[in-house]
Amino acid sequence: MNKNSMQLVTIVCEAMLEPYLERELPALGAEGYTITDARGMGKHMGKRNGGWRKESNIKVEVLCTDVVAERLISHVLSKYNDNYALIVYSHERTVYE
């Protein structure tokens, strides 16, 4: 049982971004990701909620190194934060193999 310390980056965003992130995350160095359907409310709700039902968010989780995490986060923020409902956070996690 090996232990590694990795970042768990979580992105909560509009479901319509799924195909885009699916293409971009691996290209930026993510070795995998896990997506769950979610719904929610945030500061920008109403102003830019693009789904046409409340239940239209996804939560994307990526376990990756600090370097990749930095890259993913700055990519996602710079590309999507202006026009899409989005929140990004991260924390360290112990991964077992």
């Binding site: 319509m16 109403g46 102003k47 830019r48 909620n49 239940e55 026009n83």
Partner: protein
């Protein structure tokens, strides 16, 4: 007084929405019903096309699409000049109102069939043709002189988006199989149509009730806009139909197509191509106001207008 049950289903949905009932149509059922309706409409059109395609259809199509391209331009100017909307928002709303709503069209067909008024079976072809151009024009209006357009993504989104794919797919299947080939499926795709539409409209009522709240900014202007523009567009539609010599039923369908605003294909396309536009405005207007208006008052009104024109 006679009530049309489909409209009553819609109103029941509205009622459930505004009373915050716990009634929810699961989103997968909503998806399934919309796939079914798109396929069924396409199949119906395809079967009719196989039997009644006419020579003049090509000419008619060119005229109709040409006139339909003017719609988003008018809507855009109204919003920009009169409504003081941001360029992106005006363009996005213009795309919604220039495009069409399959469900509104289905209700117009149901309306005609209830009254036994005949119509040209190939009208469904115009439904397909009218869905796309306004989206392209909307993007051009938003981008004119600014930024670059991701045409690749946009065109893919539009042509392989499920509405167009299922409509054209159904059309082709119906056309290739013909009336006899489709017979064993008539029960599911044709006879069940109205019942399925009723359940779909229950859900649409729930959705529409939740959308009207989104018209916070620009609320009054947009609400009036969302009723006046459809009526104006419907008149353009019936005049076009009259000019082309379509039947009275066909004129109602074209009027309804022009009057209807997209709330499935257009939001998806605009979110990709003009993401800085606020979708709450366009969906609030098209789904929260125009759709209910068309369903409950618009279609009967257009029918009355068409009758005057065809006296």
């Amino acid at each position: 007084m006679e009530f049309e049950p489909i409209t009553l289903f819609f109103m029941l949905g509205i009622l459930a929405g505004i009373t915050r009932s716990d009634l929810k149509i699961p989103s997968s059922v909503y998806d399934a019903l919309s796939i079914y309706l798109l396929l069924a409409i396409g199949l119906k059109g395809g079967v009719q096309l196989a039997e009644h395609a006419t020579q003049s259809m090509l000419f008619d199509s060119i005229v109709i699409v040409g006139i339909a391209c003017i719609l988003p331009l008018i809507v855009f100017s109204v919003l920009l000049k009169l409504g003081k909307f941001k360029r992106a928002d005006a363009a996005s709303i213009a795309a919604h109102y220039g495009s069409v709503s399959v469900v509104t069209f289905s209700l117009a067909i149901t309306f005609l069939e209830q009254l036994d008024v005949p119509y040209e079976g190939f009208m469904i072809v115009f439904l397909v043709l009218l869905e796309v151009p306004a989206l392209v024009i909307g993007v051009l209006l938003a981008r004119y002189g600014a930024g670059k357009v991701k045409w690749g993504s946009l065109l893919h989104e539009v042509f392989f988006g499920k509405s167009i794919l299922l409509l054209i797919g159904g059309l082709l299947i119906g056309y290739l199989s013909g009336k006899d080939g489709i017979k064993p499926m008539e029960l599911v795709f044709f006879d069940m149509f109205k019942g399925a539409l009723a359940i779909f409209l229950l859900e649409m009522g729930l959705v529409a009730a939740s959308r009207i709240h989104e018209l916070r900014s620009h609320g009054l202007f947009l609400s009036i806009f969302a009723i006046v523009i459809p009526v104006f567009n419907s008149v353009l539609g019936m005049l076009t139909a009259y000019m082309l010599g379509l039947s009275l039923g066909g004129a109602l369908l074209l009027a309804t197509l022009f009057a209807s605003a997209s709330y499935i294909a257009a939001p998806a396309a605009m979110r990709v191509a003009v993401p800085e536009a606020n979708p709450a405005l366009s969906i609030g207007a098209s789904l929260g106001v125009t759709f209910p208006f068309n369903i409950v008052l618009g279609i009967p009104l257009y029918y009355w207008l068409v009758q005057q024109l065809y006296l």
